[in-house]
């Protein structure tokens, strides 16, 4: 079994970049049209079911994209296996924790609203 994939990682990196771009474009569109962006409007967007899912998706795509980028840097520059595994593990835990934290925050916000 391959530990590090070539094409799959390359594809995921591009797919996650595309997802990030689309969500950022959506955010930019929201900024440009509609009523002024007040705290209440931001809060409403973030705590709506669609908004919450999109925010979680954004951070998931960001973490996935970041993981492949960071993994590539580690594969390039860190050649000692124990150090490499430690660095990769730290990066993976941090990125995973970010996604979990965002998901839990969004879930808490949604349950507060409903």
């Amino acid at each position: 079994m391959k530990v590090f994939y070539g094409q799959r990682a390359w594809l995921l990196q591009r797919a996650s970049a595309l997802a990030l771009l689309l969500i950022l474009a959506l955010g930019a569109a929201l900024l440009l049209v509609g009523p002024p962006l007040t705290y209440e409007r931001w809060h409403g967007l973030a705590t709506s079911p669609h908004g919450a899912v999109i925010i979680v998706l954004f951070f998931a795509a960001l973490s996935l994209h970041g993981w492949i980028g960071a993994r590539d840097i580690v594969l390039d520059y860190v050649h000692s296996l124990p150090v490499r595994l430690s660095v990769l593990a730290i990066i993976a835990v941090i990125l995973f924790a970010v996604v979990i934290r965002v998901a839990l925050t969004m879930a808490a916000q949604l349950s507060l609203v409903s």
Partner: protein, 231 residues
């Protein structure tokens, strides 16, 4: 003309150093190699490779003022003085400007740089349409001088695992060849996090190729071919 050349002789045990030379080119000296040859008559301890002296053999690749190139096709008039000559970066130095290309050619051999076709050979040659032949343009011209691989940061970091731009360009030359029947095997060999996907599209290879080829374009085509093969 002032030239500063990287000198290293493992037999003397001294560390590498830069040696400065001052030499006046003769009227017939047009290229950097002409001056190097003249310098060799003054200091015969200076080592560098050269053969065809017209940009076909790829022997005299070196780092010229920070940029890889062939001494034989580098015009003297285009050089800023002092001309700083170093061996190809990232390659083990054997002596002075001569580098060890063993690893480079091991990658080249690994991509099976020959036509594979187990079909019954035709009575005459295997024919191609003009369009099929055209796809080899920009690929077959590679002279394996290693200017591209030695200018690729990804190759510097993983020279033992990453095939490098030269090897990948050659690999694509056979992937795209209509007469070759081993495309699937070739692609399967390249689908690896190190062999192909260490390329970060830095494009130094295309920037520096003395033959004007584009290894980064070939690498992109391999990725697309892999994508098509897997879908």
């Amino acid at each position: 003309m002032r030239i500063s050349i990287y000198r290293y002789n493992p037999e003397t045990g001294t560390d590498p150093y830069m040696q400065d030379y001052t030499i006046e080119p003769e009227p017939g000296d047009k290229k950097l190699l002409d001056v190097l040859m003249r310098l060799k008559t003054v200091d015969d301890s200076l080592s560098f490779r050269r053969s065809c002296r017209e940009g076909v053999c790829g022997s005299d690749a070196m780092n010229i003022n920070g940029r890889n190139g062939l001494a034989c096709i580098t015009a003297l008039s285009a050089l800023k003085e002092p001309v700083v000559l170093r061996p190809l970066p990232g390659f083990p130095v054997i002596r002075d400007l001569v580098v060890d290309m063993t690893q480079f050619f091991a990658h080249y051999h690994a991509i099976k740089p020959y036509l594979i076709n187990d079909g019954v050979p035709p009575e005459r040659e295997r024919l191609q349409t003009p369009e099929q032949r055209e796809r080899l343009d920009g690929l077959y011209e590679c002279i394996l001088c290693a200017c591209c691989s030695a200018f690729c940061p990804s190759y510097w970091w993983n020279p033992d695992k990453f095939i490098g731009p030269a090897g990948l360009l050659q690999a694509y030359r056979f992937i795209v060849d209509s007469r070759d029947t081993a495309t699937a095997e070739r692609l399967a060999y390249l689908d690896d996090v190190y062999r192909l996907y260490r390329c970060r599209t830095i494009m130094n290879c295309t920037e520096v190729c003395p033959k004007g080829l584009s290894p980064s374009h070939a690498i992109e085509r391999i990725r697309i071919a892999l994508l098509r093969a897997s879908s």
